[in-house]
Symmetry: C2
Subunit: 189 residues, 2 copies
DNA sequence: GCGCGGTCTTGATAAAAATCAAGAAATCAA
DNA sequence: TTGATTTCTTGATTTTTATCAAGACCGCGC
């Protein structure tokens, strides 16, 4: 069973036979380390699900890069705003390692809705889940210090700190690489 | 035409006759200043749309209140996670002034889907729009200083600063009331 | 192996923001 | 109206975080 099947089955309690039907709309895609899955400003018409590897979502602000999110196995790779509203992408998505994705085109995405009644509900729940996760993240910025946000991320995704350059993680936390370095040292001792 | 009709019509380009059908599922609700529309920990099974008045979404963290959002005319009043996943609410929603809402129950919400085919797409676009707005807000915390976030909010919702206690706005920006006060003085001079 | 670019750490310093404390101003209720 | 409460501002100080600068480390290609 692929990550994608597991995700749909477990997250939403969709039975295996329906999951199979949904899965068929997705195509496998391999990326090499450094490849761009998406470039800001371009129209994107596909939604990807990460089977393996690591991707970084980032944007250029002023003269610095802001890493908005790092996606690993089980996350989606998409600029949802671009995908849903057929607008140019607002950020880049680049492979930090070789990656395997499951990808669906906007066209096929619309076809799912006709073939699988369950999909409508699934779609709402999927976005709703992402929405709630973002709400939590907002709250973490309103309620927590840099150190607390670091602790939280470290407890939620400990593996990340061994997999990607730390300055990307720092940016994702909204702190500088130097501060992250000091927080790490503090934590060890 | 109510705010809600205008919202649905303009945001999603739904024709007026279909808007009328959707509107019928909503019931008017009046709140008095200080009333709770939603209490954290309770099950909520309704989605509200603000016709008039001001509501504050907040939660208790440690010993302090975190104001997550302030909703005025044209915003929704709902804990989406609670509404979609039938979970206890994660925050409070309280009326800061007398309010008029348009409210739909979870039950009627599901009925819309049967009556109006267009609704499915509308729902996805609605949540997608909220999602994108939250993404922007995350980025504002990663890329901007307290002063820049203040400037941004002040340019986006200038009226807010005359309508609600400033310490709620400070909390929503992730800063202290004292800092907000100083940023305001700085801006004037 | 060697050099090189990128990464990470560390220290010194500066800037930003929080905290603590006090008082003024506004609001609200009796 | 008056007193109490909340809100807002201001100043002094501390804490947190960023910035600047330097050097160590590490992996990779030649």
């Amino acid at each position: 069973m692929t990550e994608l099947e597991g995700y749909i089955h477990h997250s939403f309690g969709i039975p295996h036979n329906e999951v199979d039907e949904i899965i068929r709309f997705f195509q496998p895609l391999k990326l090499r380390k450094g490849d761009y899955y998406l470039k800001a400003g371009h129209r994107s018409d596909r939604l990807g699900f990460v089977q393996s590897g690591i991707l970084r979502e980032f944007l250029d602000a002023d003269n610095k890069e802001i890493t908005k999110w790092i996606s690993t196995k089980g996350y989606f790779a998409v600029d949802l705003h671009s995908f849903l509203f057929e607008q140019p992408a607002r950020w880049h998505i680049q492979a930090l390692t070789d990656c395997e994705l499951w990808v669906i085109s906007g066209h096929d995405y619309k076809r799912i809705q006709q073939v699988i009644p369950e999909w409508q509900r699934l779609e709402t729940l999927f976005i709703g889940k992402c929405f709630a996760a973002l709400e939590d993240r907002i709250v973490s910025h309103l309620a927590l210090s840099a150190e607390e946000r670091f602790q939280l991320l470290h407890s939620q995704r400990p593996e990340l700190f061994n997999l990607v350059p730390l300055h990307y993680i720092a940016s994702m936390l909204g702190i500088t690489p130097e501060t992250l370095s000091r927080l790490r040292r503090k934590q060890v001792s």
